[in-house]
């Protein structure tokens, strides 16, 4: 007890590690003009006072909360243990019910100076309010479901920027768009008389298509020849699409592959080559297109796709019928017109407005 005075004298006059002096507020506008604070975690008021200092009082009490569980504890320091510093603080868990906790504090600190009990109860009140507010915020966060997304590490961010730049350069987006649009136009996804093309442009496209179709139709007579021709050309030729399996099949590479390919081909056509018995056009056309000119395996795709479109969307009896009527019995493969064309590997089912 006597040492309290000595301790306080030293702490106040000379030096205290926990003391924090801040410029106080002016009393005219602010409620609190305090400037001396105590950073000791056991201080019940937070101010640096003779009565509040936990070091200079051998009998002391505080309320503190457990950060993980949020429970409130009453810490009591008595003179009897003043010589055992590691056992100074007696930790008593308080009920989570506020009124019960108040009663507990009362009964524990009975006969203690009013100052300490009063301040303890004030602190208890404040800490409960804090806990309630924290719970409310946590619940709100959980309801909103928003989490803080940590910033991307600068190395990774930079790496991604570079990669994006390179990817954009490699993508050649506008070329791809143009190619795709023209492919759709050519394959007839826009219908018979498309609304997004001018007359003369569409006529050009139609002429180009008819030219290729004509070429196909003429080869009908030369089926056998065509196949052999294709066969010869194959090993050297480089394909760029999935229908190579079809080619391999003709090569006789492996039966299973061939089988699978044919299945695939059929499936891809939606089994239409088998189903659509009504239109001779398609069967005939697909037969024709199977044996096309030297460069022509790929034309299968576009032609077959056209077949599919026709069957799905509108019957275009005029188109296949007319060229058929115009079929000229020309002999031999049309070597002169060599369209080195390889269509897209995969087929699309186009949506027509």
């Amino acid at each position: 007890m006597a040492s309290d005075e000595i301790v306080w004298h030293y702490i106040n006059q000379k030096h205290c590690s926990f003391k924090l002096k801040l410029p106080g507020n002016s009393s005219t506008h602010q409620k609190s003009t305090k400037s001396n604070f105590c950073r000791n975690e056991h201080n019940v008021t937070g101010l640096c006072n003779r009565q509040s200092c936990p070091l200079a009082n051998s009998r002391y009490a505080t309320i503190r909360s457990d950060p993980t569980t949020g429970r409130l504890y009453l810490y009591i320091k008595t003179t009897e243990r003043a010589h055992l510093p590691n056992r100074w603080w007696e930790k008593i868990r308080l009920s989570s019910n506020y009124t019960k906790a108040l009663q507990q504090v009362d009964e524990r600190l009975i006969y203690w100076p009013k100052f300490l009990t009063h301040k303890c109860k004030q602190r208890l009140t404040r800490l409960t309010q804090v806990r309630v507010r924290a719970q409310r915020l946590a619940k709100e966060d959980e309801r909103l479901g928003e989490r803080i997304v940590s910033r991307m590490a600068p190395k990774i961010r930079r790496r991604e920027e570079t990669r994006e730049r390179k990817a954009e350069a490699a993508a050649k987006i506008e070329r791809a768009i143009e190619r795709e649009l023209v492919e759709r136009l050519r394959s007839g996804a826009y219908g018979d008389r498309p609304l997004n093309v001018e007359e003369n442009v569409w006529k050009k496209v139609m002429r180009g298509l008819e030219r290729s179709q004509e070429g196909v139709r003429d080869e009908e007579l030369d089926e056998g020849v065509e196949e052999e021709y294709e066969y010869e050309r194959e090993p050297g030729e480089e394909e760029a699409e999935a229908q190579v399996e079809y080619v391999s099949d003709i090569d006789g590479e492996s039966d299973e592959d061939g089988e699978g390919d044919m299945e695939e081909f059929d499936d891809w056509l939606g089994g239409e080559s088998a189903e659509e018995a009504d239109s001779d056009d398609e069967e005939g056309a697909s037969g024709e297109e199977d044996e096309e000119g030297p460069s022509g395996e790929e034309d299968d795709d576009s032609a077959a796709l056209k077949q599919k479109l026709e069957s799905l969307k509108r019957k275009r009896p005029s188109a296949p019928a007319a060229p058929k009527a115009r079929k000229k019995p020309s002999k031999g493969p049309k070597v002169g017109i060599e369209y080195e064309y390889v269509p897209e590997p995969q087929q699309r089912v186009m949506e027509v407005a």
Binding site: A242, V244, R348
Partner: protein, 428 residues
Amino acid sequence: MAGLDPLKIGNKLKRQQQHQKTKKAKESTKRDERFKRRRHEDKNPELREARLAKNVPATIESKRTWDDANADDAAEGRLGLSVDVLHAKRRKVEDEEKQVPEEINPEDHVGDVEDDEEPAAVGGLEPGVNGDEDEQDELDSMLGSDDSDDEAEANAKLDPPDRDASEAPSAATSAATATTDLNHTPDALIARFPSLFNLDPDISPKVLVTTALNSTLHWEAQLLTSLFPGSAYVRRTAHFRSYKYSVREICSYAANQAYTHVVILNEDRKKPKGLDIVHLPNGPMFHFSISNWVEGSRLPGHGNPTNHYPELILNGFRTPLGLLAAHLFKSLFPPRPEIQGRQVVTLHNQRDYIFFRRHRYVFRDKRGTEKSIQGTDGKLMKGVEEIRAGLQELGPRFTLKLRRVDKGIQHMSGQEWKWEAGAEKIRL
């Protein structure tokens, strides 16, 4: 004797002069060779073809290694695997040639994705039949590109034996940017996300656009409404003390109002940072990050969009995850485009970056100075040699990168797939 060892000339000036001389000489010999070659090949085009066929430059796309495609994995419709769904056959052919186990199976990704029990007897990789083929009368312009992470990009455990151009087409480069055929989705995947894949072609999408809380991107969100036909922008609660509606609540309200999607625009310091797309009613939620958002007015030669329904081009979505994202984008737009509007929205996936563009196109005659359009493998497109398509860019352009797919709405519902920075490389 300055030519003795040009690098060892002590005099800096002389050394520089000598270097310039040798450089000039070297370059001129190269040039002469090139022109000679060109003259030769002009006379004899087959030489050129042979040379080009032999000297195919290696690209990142061509070096991509794929995961082992187990039938059961594919049948489950897992998202994490880097499996080329659409070109499985081709790879089989390549395998036969190579006789080398081609793919690497990165352990981390196998463990990542939860297994759904799919009683799948379907060889999910078969690019064969899909029942949806007939249902989807829509513009399928998606060719295989990989949307999932480029795992084993740089690493191949075994060096592939040197070989000539394989019979399997040099699909690597062409397939990487080829238009995806949406029909070739594995059935297992469709079974897992039925609402996404089995789109009714008569239902027009109804999109609810909103932002994150406390966001200031109202103008950008309005732009998004012009982007998605049938969309509306609703602001988030502004007042400090008012009730803030959570994303889950918004989604439930939207689902009640017959919306099909909720699009949430995230912000970072006044710029769009991310896009979260929820597929209603309780469908998967896709988180994208946005980079390089450029508004239409800042594009040189831009046009103004009309409200015609645009066509859709989806390039380069190859893996199951890619197909999932592609179907999501497809579902965001009305199924039947108005082609008289001549507008096209392109989502081009290249190396996991999805480039979003909006154009107005016109088919016109080729000018004399222009080249003809080439197909994906460099050969001219038949029948349309005299046609070019002019493009005018409209509206915003940005780059998306898929970061996370949640099973339900928001993170708590579990992740289908998550992007991890460390997974981009395989460290042995």
